[in-house]
């Protein structure tokens, strides 16, 4: 299983890395746009939010399969601590789970909060189409004003042994960039900023979710690989220990038999 995970990891890691430029560029453009927007008060709701923060929607993205070490439980742990923080502040909580493992673990404690469970068990690799499905659901709910703030939980792939659970707020979009990163270019927009933003923001949500999916699938394989590597090593150690024990007890039996024969012969 380690070998299988290693092979899959390569592919997942590749696509995670290849997917990064798109989401980064998209983010950049949106940041530039939101800077340039003329009328901040009438900005699209997806950017500015509903003005409240009472109802939180959390999208917890996990894998569909187990045997991958702490991968799922890390996300769940992060999500749970966020949930309890929310409830201590008296906020309302709604959960969408992506991936069946997260649903399994969360429904015991937060079963009544889960409003949707999405699983892509049948599709092998993360693809953009799936991400669009998820984002469509989210945007629909947002337009019906079912929540005010949306946060996604996923594991960011750092390397094979480190995956960092992340909480990223996607609605309203956070635009807290450092001043030095701000570009001073004046863009020309066609059509105007507001219209571009209205079209772009839903797309950005799909992109962010897709990015999360890619990071997640790379992380999953990485976590599985190291978990299975550990398991193989532990099993190997156990085999060594048991072999020694087996040899010892066999030797003990032989010795005992020899002693019996010798002492029998001596007594004659």
């Amino acid at each position: 299983m380690k070998m299988v995970a290693a092979a899959k990891l390569k592919r997942a890691q590749d696509s995670a890395e290849k997917g990064r430029p798109y989401s980064e560029k998209m983010n950049n453009i949106i940041l530039n746009l939101s800077e340039g927007i003329s009328d901040k008060e009438n900005a699209p709701k997806l950017l500015s939010g509903t003005g409240k923060d009472q109802i939180h929607l959390c999208v917890v993205m996990t894998s569909d399969r187990g045997l991958c070490g702490g991968f799922n439980s890390n996300i769940i742990k992060k999500a749970k601590s966020y949930f309890s923080k929310l409830s201590s502040e008296g906020k309302e909580l709604k959960i969408i789970t992506v991936g069946s493992k997260g649903n399994d673990q969360l429904k015991r404690f937060f079963g009544d909060k889960i409003i949707e469970n999405i699983s892509f068990k049948n599709s092998k690799n993360a693809n953009f189409f799936n991400a669009e499905k998820v984002s469509k659901i989210i945007i629909e709910k947002f337009q019906k004003e079912e929540f005010d703030i949306c946060t996604i939980f996923f594991n960011q792939f750092k390397n094979v042994i480190t995956q960092i659970p992340q909480a990223q707020q996607i609605i309203p979009l956070k635009t807290d960039i450092d001043d030095k990163e701000k570009s001073e270019d004046n863009y020309e927009f066609e059509p105007d900023e507001d219209e571009i933003l209205t079209n772009l923001l839903p797309k950005n949500i799909s992109t962010q979710i897709f990015k999360a999916m890619l990071e997640n699938s790379a992380s999953e394989q990485g976590a599985r690989m190291s978990a299975m590597d550990n398991a193989t090593r532990n099993a190997g150690e156990m085999v060594d220990k048991l072999t020694i024990e087996y040899n010892r007890s066999r030797q003990a039996a032989i010795t005992k038999e020899l002693i019996e024969i010798i002492s029998g012969a001596e007594s004659l």
């Binding site: 997917g19 798109y22 560029k25 453009i29 570009s183 020309e188 927009f189 059509p191």
Partner: protein, 130 residues
């Protein structure tokens, strides 16, 4: 003085195309076709279904896109799109299929004017390719 600039086409899965030596790119911007040459002013725009034409020393390349965003800055043109196809690789059967889906879509009466406009555009472009 060279008349070339950099072009990068990215889709969500990977960097689709990257070229250092394009001389002109024509994109189907939302409000009409737009030709971009070197030293164009910084611009952000988004695309409607149509053809991207890329001109370089080697000649002309054509791509079909359904949507996307373009950003031009410091002689770097980035095109972000989730659906792009090289015209050469598009088979007739596939185009027919796409046409059929689009025609079905436009026949619905509950779509917004903007959506209808986009789909009509798409149908027109696809018919032209055919």
């Amino acid at each position: 003085m060279s008349e070339e600039f950099k072009l990068e086409v990215v889709n969500p899965e990977k960097s689709f195309l990257s070229k250092e030596d394009v001389t002109e790119v024509v994109v189907p911007a939302f409000e009409g076709e737009m030709g971009i040459l070197k030293d164009h002013i910084s611009i952000i725009s988004f695309l409607k279904p149509g053809m991207i034409k890329i001109y370089s020393k080697l000649g002309e390349e054509k791509y079909y896109v359904e949507d996307g965003i373009i950003e031009f800055k410091n002689n770097n043109l980035s095109i972000l799109t989730s659906s792009i196809f090289n015209i050469k690789d598009m088979e007739k059967s596939k185009i027919d299929e796409m046409l059929r889906v689009a025609e079905k879509e436009t026949a619905k009466d509950n779509i917004s004017d903007q959506a209808k406009y986009l789909i009509d555009q798409k149908i027109e472009v696809l018919r032209n390719i055919n």
